[in-house]
Subunit: 505 residues, 4 copies
């Protein structure tokens, strides 16, 4: 990593070469992640975040208030509600371009949530995390680095707090403090795009109590810091990208990436520590991060656009696109997909300024958005399989299609509509397989389920904000239980529905 | 109707007295709608639209560009996207206050859609509808009148166009043209709040062809014009408001209103005609009106707030509010309710200026919003009945509760939690009955289904805008079918996803 | 009540005359329930259970093993699994004939569950309830009486046990014991068809503990016993049957009936007591009763047949029946409706003999059936409203239709397809209103929700029987966790899936 | 293939050795399918159908009326409704044992549907297919062979009939007729278990018209007949079984199998031809086959048992099994799973004798069952992924777990509850991955969608049988439209609801 700002996807890919990362995959140390056929597609996906900023600066970049320069939107602290909305639009577009997870949202959401949280820690406790963090942000912006937000601990027994686990390392924690900084140990699970990042932001993953004080650590580390081991996560059909062809992979260019990050006494110097023991702020950080991140799942509406397009294409290739039930299923897919988009956009649009000045989405609607994301992509996926026909899971291999012995038989018998090439029909089927049960189903489905918190986490958060007392009062007035009805002024109900009735649109 | 601007709900109610309307109900001419116990609750609901404008001017009023004065938001032509969003916020608040339909949205949405449609007719055909319409709007604003938008024809055989019907009057049409104006005949069905309006805007209800030219009529008529007969629509449990008590009605103060408006050679003078034969603009008007109106159903999230509050209250009264499944059902109700709100807000926020300068919501998202409204209130209602318990449909009458003979038995045996009065428990149960199968279920459920177009109408509109060609292209690129991928610029896809990727947030 | 066996619906109606019942409705004592326009439809529905037995003896009657005579199936103790299945078929047919609740299932299910429960109490404790009960059954069969099963207590605070309530009477309990029998006090809520019964079977409503011993009382009382007061429950739109016409009621002939039964020191003689303090058998009785009763809700598939027919008819009358989305909605309604039927039939078919010889349905599937009934009729109802169009809730009154002044206008403007009479279109719309939000919606929807236990009660019962240990074992074997797989013999897993794998089909 | 009856799974596996099949996979000819690691699991699954018959003769075998001997139930012609029900019970049990598709149902359902169809062809046309078919059945029973039912053609353009396709071979058809028999050409897609069969039954796949006469061919061919080429279908994660371990495969022992069967002038001798040109009976055969086969999907409730068990196990391993939402999700999974079972059992129980004497399920309920199978496994699968946590798609490889370098790190950090081994946690996660997006998801999900007909095929069949006229009549009677109500006798409505009201239970 040098001092030159990364300007394009190509430069970004170059920046990943020649790093001394300790990455394991299939029990082997990976020498060069950039050229590894199973890893490269995930790098290509991140690279698109650079190219989109060049091609569509309004959409994918912004002027940094810290550097005064145009920076990638993924590194930008949202200054207005429009900034927050534009994150969503950029995310949908990148979902369309890559058909998968482009891995850079966690860093963006970590940046924004840490920005306001460090501000509030300092304000309450007189610490100096915020200015250090701002310096770090500006530095990252000036290099156009990719930031991985490392929050999710491996967690061990879910019924126990960090300090109650049989092994204290099951949550990342401080093992030693020196005057220069701290040493941390533990592991972060399913770290999206961690190998494709330049820096990682370590953050706690749950509400902490005083007993968990050593777990209240936030800090930045370079991905190649001493003491880090990466173990690459398997994905459905992952090895197809090592088979040599470009049909059976479904989406040859792009893929996601998840790895386990194991930290063994990794050092964080003082200037890169942004929380250190202030356990009472862990929940603020987690809730703000998830607030941003839950509506970041609008990206799945972009991925959904691809899958709807694939389903419409196979229907056409099969000669079935005129049937009313086929059209109706495409409508249903669209209705669901746009619901994800609309709830995300509404959450972003209803953003409010935090004390730090950074804008943060409406938490209720962000949770509503994410909660739909835990279900609707599954139904869209089911409908895509319906339109694809059974051949989506019984298609012979690319090698058979290319073989001298039986290739011509497949060419003949896998034909759909007469004017469509058999190869193209195979290609679109493999894309649907890829997105509904193959490699990108990991990101479109399961990661949609658990990323930014599993479904129940959203329900808990919705419960916290559903203001039953206010709603009970509304009902009691209309039922004649509270007879001396005095209408509540909007200005009086900032505790209640200020969010909804805020007139400073 | 005099020349003084109506300032309050009370003045509004006064303005409805002493009109010579021909209204039939139960086979009888209604002398005085204001004092009729079955009609009055609907008037009270409209009155709240006046009082809210006084109490919350930011929310429920706006500065008219035509009069320069602050006018009720229901009469305002949206000048900005924030104006469109504030319509939704006002609608949710009024849903909370009344727990029913407050009847004034149709007029607001008719105003806004006619504003831009007349502009575009004039632009294309050189007519002068727009300035006449602007004058009419300013006049209505200066009086603060209630406008009913009369669109839905009775329609006869749904498989036939207007001119094909066995009876030409099954759609409203021009029967005579004179130099002063036109005469129209026909009937408009389920006219929300028509009796509570001061003026009606007559509009066609479907796409028209040249053969339907006489059906392409838009004009304004006072509600007491010669030739109009109103026949009041029945609602579930409507006569309970004539029984004398205030418990069994459920919501004693507020109700909705639907009537059939029968027009027999009603005259419209030239200056109040805003379309006259330009059949090719009927679909523009209908589509714009439904675009506004479909996301106006955000009001149901306000009604949903009341029902969620009622469900939470009865759970508490029953001593059941601590059960995890009860909490979970309240969360589900909230999740659904906020989805309605979020999709509506997103549609409004994504508004764009029309050529006339008036802002219009995003049509795709407006349809997505309304489509959810055709389902989610039914599920919220089902869950409310779940929480209420069976007693919601077996509760004895208010008269029994008040009777000397058995009142004490009900007092004793209908007791829930010891510290809650039996009467209050009955009241909240009756409110839930009212909203889920009684009088206000008409508005919360069935009218949510059909108002602004039945479910299939939204699906057709979603289909029109789902841009399958663009989505197919995305899929083909990723599948390797279109090999020379050239990334589409946002600026190039205004035909496609301009809506989504518009960066002028 | 005399000694002659009731042979027909007409004789049944006669049998209800001249009884000295203390029934309150709208604060008034009802002199003659048979001629009361609001009550009569419920009597007509029960009458059909007599006529069907005459018309279709195979379906609706059976040979009693106690009397050797053919008796009404509602009074028959199921001797075979086919007997249990035929209950369901009879129920569906009666749902089709009446379009509502015919009120006689509770008695049938109480008879069957008490038969086996008294047998097992006697077997364990040496009591003599079973033979007394058998005598009572034979007596009722010989008269062809209607039995009301009075289980549901008013319950007060749902978080407290009977003996913990602030008022001990909130559950029915023994207040005095004499050598001749016991005296009971309390109230039973929403007693379906109680006034239309000849005898009531008092039963506890929940699992009891030793402290609730006085609540463990089962006994038979004639409906006109001293100390009983009935207070009639209101239903949506109930007073329409008192308006004089036959259109607006929707279903003029048939309706349901729910009343509160208040017991003040009502005496039960020893020979009619079938449980007296054996609190540990309360849960067996309740669970067996709900097992039978939950799959008795197959009747709703018969009611669903009517609503599907009504929806298909209005689509035809509107000229909309050729549209593909209309057909698809009718298919969906049918799919849901048949799911109710199929799950009920499967539960009945999987019946097993109890120790007493009486057959009892499969409890898991009975709960699955009822759980669908708490949701599917709501969706069928929503779809019926979709097909009906908005007019279903805005239709003017029958009096307007009959009036000289405006009747002709309605005749003209409410016309649908040219060859269908307006009156018929109104009639079918009123039937749909009746079934989806009017009087029979009480039975089709809300009572489907709560009757035989609210939704959560089914989930608890499903949980009790879902045999997770067996299923975990299956998974562990396939995952390679339990390596020495020994296949379980069907004969060894009677504790597990004996139900499923019983080969004595 | 010799003359000895196959007695056990082991003997069955031996019977598959040394056959001269032309099977292609990854562009290579497969020498020995029995030892091929990717194919063997599918053979193991079929082998269980033999062993179950030994272990549970009541469940999985029956006395053949043709041979008088006990034969495998998969080869038995159902003589009673209990026989049909027992098919379902056997299917559920085999789903539990294998967690996948055991591939033998198609043959069973083909046997049964051909039995009655050949009978009716002969009866009408005086042909002699039935006795030839009976001879063939007896022969197969005596050898205990596995029969593959080859119905699904590759179909080409779905909007065209067989004879309209650009290539006549896109549906299998007769290319030459000789005095000894016929020659056929074409291809059958996604042939479940075809390589694991001994014989294939060729059948047409859709309703045929006179122009498609040469497509109306039914006949039996040995799997190793001249002119057959098999091309193996790929499945998600299929190559994991070639990696050497036993964790990452998820279900190491069992899998499904689908291949394309290409027929090039394959000969069928006269005695093995069971339809030859009688195109008007193609739809009878297809409808009867799908009637049996749609409720054969009850097997998925057995697979669902495994997945529910796996979800419950991982919840326990994660320490999350006490959470109320976890329990509730397991209940929901069970509710859905038992709905599949119940609707299948009801369809089988409602079987009726065909003219041939063979029993056939209720077609309406069979379609209802299958239609649920196209949705519910997807929701069960989604819930299983919810309970599994994100680690189900980010788990590192078995090789990493076994490696010296990082194995200990995974051992440490993938620990859940302290008393559960990390390996076991990995194993159960891999099983869930296998069933929800890996190899067995093909059978549990996508094949559940399309096997026995895609969802729309069921909707069409439901529509055909939903008897709207009868239902309309019910509604019109209750609405007062048909005034002279004459109750329909059950005996009169055999055209209508004979199925439902059949009293010969």
């Amino acid at each position: 990593m040098n001092n030159i700002k990364i300007a394009s996807g190509e430069e970004y890919i170059d920046s990943l070469r020649n790093r001394k990362l300790k990455v394991y995959l299939f029990g082997q140390l990976v020498e060069n992640i950039v050229e590894h056929p199973m890893i490269r597609p995930s790098i290509n996906a991140v690279a698109e975040t650079f190219d989109l900023a060049l091609q569509e600066p309004q959409l994918a970049s912004a002027i940094s208030p810290f550097t005064g320069e145009r920076v990638n939107r993924f590194l930008h602290i949202a200054q207005t509600r429009d900034d927050v909305v534009l994150q969503n639009k950029m995310q949908r577009r990148l979902g369309q371009i890559t058909g998968t997870c482009f891995q850079r949202c966690v860093g963006m959401d970590a940046f924004n949530s840490l920005f306001s949280t460090t501000f509030e820690i300092d304000k309450k406790l007189g610490t100096h995390y915020h200015s250090k963090f701002k310096t770090f942000v500006a530095e990252m912006q000036s290099k156009n680095y990719v930031i991985g937000g490392a929050m999710t601990d491996v967690k061990g027994d879910r019924s126990l707090a960090p300090h109650q686990q049989s092994d204290p390392d099951l949550f990342v924690h401080i093992t030693k403090r020196t005057s220069e900084g701290v040493y941390i140990t533990g592991a972060k699970a399913h770290q999206t795009g961690c190998l494709n990042s330049h820096w990682l932001l370590i953050m706690p993953t749950i509400r902490l109590t005083e007993n968990d004080k050593d777990y209240a650590i936030v800090g930045a580390i370079p991905v190649d810091a001493d003491g880090i081991t990466y173990i690459y996560g398997r994905q459905s059909c992952d090895t197809r990208s090592m088979e040599g062809g470009d049909i059976d992979v479904g989406n040859a260019q792009y893929g996601g990436q998840e790895a386990m990050v194991i930290l063994e006494n990794v050092f964080i110097p003082n200037q890169l520590i942004f929380m250190n023991g202030e356990y009472e702020f862990a929940s603020m950080l987690v809730e703000r991060f998830t607030c941003y991140h839950r509506r970041s799942y609008v990206c799945k509406s972009g991925v959904g656009d691809v899958l709807i397009g694939a389903a419409a294409t196979i229907a056409e290739y099969n000669g079935a696109d005129k049937a009313s039930h086929i059209k109706d299923k495409l409508i249903e897919m669209t209705h669901l997909n746009e619901t994800i988009y609309a709830t995300g956009i509404a959450a972003s649009y209803q953003s409010k300024a935090t004390l730090s000045g950074a804008f943060m989405p409406d938490d209720m609607l962000a949770n509503v958005c994410k909660h739909h994301v835990t279900k609707m992509p599954y139904e869209i996926s089911r409908l895509a399989q319906d339109l694809a026909g059974g051949i989506v899971v019984t298609l012979p291999s690319e090698q058979d299609f290319r073989s001298k012995e039986v290739g011509h038989l497949l060419e003949k018998y896998l034909k759909g509509k007469a004017d469509v090439s058999t190869e193209n029909r195979m290609r679109i089927l493999r894309l649907i397989e890829n997105m509904t049960m193959g490699r990108n189903a990991v990101g479109y489905l399961t990661e949609s389920m658990h990323g930014a918190g599993s479904p129940q986490a959203q329900r808990i958060q919705i419960a916290r904000q559903m203001q039953l007392d206010f709603k009970k009062k509304l009902a009691k007035e209309l039922a004649g239980i509270e007879k001396n009805k005095t209408k509540i002024l909007v200005s009086e109900i900032s505790d209640y529905f200020g969010r909804v009735f805020d007139v400073n649109v």
